[in-house]
Amino acid sequence: MTSSSENSRLLDRIRADAPGAFEEFVERFGGRIYAFGMKFCGEREDAKDVLQETLLQAYRSLRTLDNPEAMISWLYRVAANACLMRRRKGKYEPEREISLEELMPRPGEGPRVEIPDPSAMPHDDLVRAETKARVQRAIGDLPDPYRIVLVMRDMEQLSTQEVAEALGLETSAVKMRLHRARLMVRKSLEGAFAGRTP
């Protein structure tokens, strides 16, 4: 059975409030929403609260959802709201969009410090843990409206369309914020790797 038909079947069971439907819902999506909360909020307690709020609220509101294809976007919409409310921002819009000029190297200035190739990283637990911490810090430092798009696209592997639906943005805005978020992380990693031999 495909994931789409499984979601459709689950949605029917949720609408009917069938015995065990909530448990199945938790089993199917709990891990994904918890991971999303961890990646966005960075704290277990926040991720736990995001998970609980999202599953309880989404389970109730999914009963009115007509299109099973929209289930994933809907879930992430509820989860994104829970994440952003937890950070007391509660909005998807930045104060101002960060301009590309701010992120572009000046003429004649290439990548000064090589970011190591992730596939060629040494199998050293300490180096890996240090690298993971650097990447998490770089992601954690992003402004919320950019981080939420980056987490959904590059970490949760949602499509541009799914992110647009989840956040109520145009696809062009999703692409624009994703690009800026990646550029900010790249810049931050470049600085973090400065002075270190990969």
Partner: protein, 85 residues
């Protein structure tokens, strides 16, 4: 592109704005071909793209802890309590 191409001009600026869409396969074939032509002659843009690819690979490889089993039970219990209330 001529061999005298100097990095930092309008072509590089235009390409810089499209790098993520190019990486994600979201540009149309004509734009894609134009970017590849430019990359062939502009080493700094090529290096920048590679560093961006690596940054994205690091982002994608960042995993999160698994959902603890006891948390699942806790949420199901919260749902049952709310249902009975």
């Amino acid at each position: 592109m001529s061999e005298k191409h100097v990095h930092g001009g309008p072509e590089c600026v235009a390409l810089f704005a499209k790098l993520s869409e190019y990486m994600d396969g979201e540009v149309d074939p004509a734009v894609c071909a134009g970017i590849e032509d430019h990359m062939a002659d502009c080493a700094p843009c090529r290096d920048f793209l590679e560093s961006l690819r690596r940054a994205v690979a690091f982002i994608a490889s960042t995993n999160a802890p698994k959902l603890p089993e006891d948390l699942k039970s806790e949420i199901v219990a919260a749902y049952e309590r709310a249902r009975r209330a």
